[in-house]
Symmetry: C2
Subunit: 238 residues, 2 copies
DNA sequence: GCGGTTAGAATTGTCAACAATATGAAGCGG
DNA sequence: CCGCTTCATATTGTTGACAATTCTAACCGC
């Protein structure tokens, strides 16, 4: 199946920084939004034409995204949107869980009064969405909560890596696999995390957030199991 | 101070895969081996000349290394070898510790008999080096031990990220800061890790290896403190 | 002598053309 | 009808050249 018309979305002429950075951001968006589906090959010339730039910056951008794990390069064949196998997604969940533990631990140690208040406010938003069974709203505030928590860790490298892993995982499943049923459970886990942060319990917060991520991993497995997929690889889950 | 003669180390003509990959590996080596010192600017044209390639592949390689955190790009000024501040090194140690915990936990769960034997053998090598006060040998087997442990985790993404963080940290201090004095302490921590893995104690192994990394972080701080540097940022250590 | 200004050189950013390789279809023999 | 070969096409890999920007240093007025 092929689109007949290729939309041209040129990159603004006047800008700051590298052209390849703007290109990278565009392609990253396309990949994460699912405009280009997993496994699909990326045509340099066509992409360059759509963005109204040359192939040089495009190749640099693709190389960067390859290192980020969003694309894979096959010599003389080109760049492909990475197709994440279940096995790899599980591996990434484990990494994510480890990073989350560190983040929560640091957040509990370093949270300022203002940051704590923001976390509590976001928790309340989730609470409301949870009560109203509004999955979309819950996901939105959930993302904000996790982002704020990361910010609270005051560790830029940790934030960047978590974001990177999160992006890669998004390759596997377009959006979160949280059905209305698991909202309460997820929110209960958030409560434990927040409570630990509030009382400055670093280890508790770390363990709680790590458990929350691993719970999400299990949710994904259950979801796939209910669809009959990926049962083979389930043994990889600790 | 400038080198008068620039050694030409051309890249072999016949090879598999991308030319830019070979270039990237070369530059990565140069940076990690300290051939190009931190903060130094990288001249694309000269580098391309030394490697007997054009600037295109060089730029792609540099872009990849930028994403890996080894270089920083300043628009219209070029690429610089990243100068790691103490603060950032401490952040990276925290990330590394979190990844190490996950790795050890998984290793304890998944270690095969053969892998366990290899870990024990490497531990014995370290033991010998420790008794003989041979720092260089200890560092060598120490690296091998940690690498084998990572391998045992059976999580490729975790291994790659740990390696990446390790490389970045190497930017800060050329080699490990382990003096003969701390060999015994480090080895004692190894013993705890190995013992936990041997008895399949996942949480114990995770906690032990994390503690080991954080102990290394503290070692670095002590080392710097004894040289009068970086006392200002010491408050960042949890 | 010193600060600001301004050409010139050096370097990065971008592009378009050329070479090498893979893809796919047509033709051929079995 | 199926598999193999061959050739045309499309796409990636690489290069050198040109444009834009920054750095250097000589120059000028004070």
């Amino acid at each position: 199946m092929k689109r007949i018309v290729e939309h041209v979305i040129a990159i603004p002429g006047a800008r700051h920084g590298h052209l390849s950075d703007a290109v990278r951001e565009r392609i990253e968006q396309m990949v994460l939004r699912g405009d280009i589906e997993a496994g699909e090959r990326i045509n340099e010339l066509r992409l360059a034409g759509r963005l109204k730039v040359s192939r040089g910056p495009v190749r640099e951008a693709l190389r960067s995204l390859e290192r980020a794990g969003l694309l894979v390069a096959i010599p003389n064949r080109g760049m492909f949107v990475r197709r994440l196998e279940l096995e790899e997604a599980l591996h990434l969940y484990d990494v994510r869980a480890g990073l989350a533990r560190v983040a929560a631990r640091l957040a509990a140690l370093r949270a300022s009064a203002k940051q704590l208040k923001r976390l509590q406010a976001l928790f309340q938003r989730m609470q409301q969405a949870c009560a109203a069974r509004e999955v979309a709203a819950f996901n939105h505030w959930n993302s904000a909560f996790h982002a704020e928590l990361m910010e609270t860790s005051c560790n830029p490298r940790l934030i960047a890596m978590s974001e990177s892993v999160r992006n890669e995982l998004q390759l596997y499943l377009g959006k979160g696999v949280v059905g209305p049923a698991q909202l309460r459970k997820s929110q209960a886990e958030h409560r434990v995390v927040l409570a630990a942060i509030e009382r400055g319990d670093a280890e508790g917060a770390g363990a709680a957030l790590e458990a929350h991520v691993l719970s999400g991993k299990q949710r994904m497995l259950d979801y796939l199991g209910s669809r009959g997929e990926g049962i083979r690889a389930a043994r990889l889950a600790p």
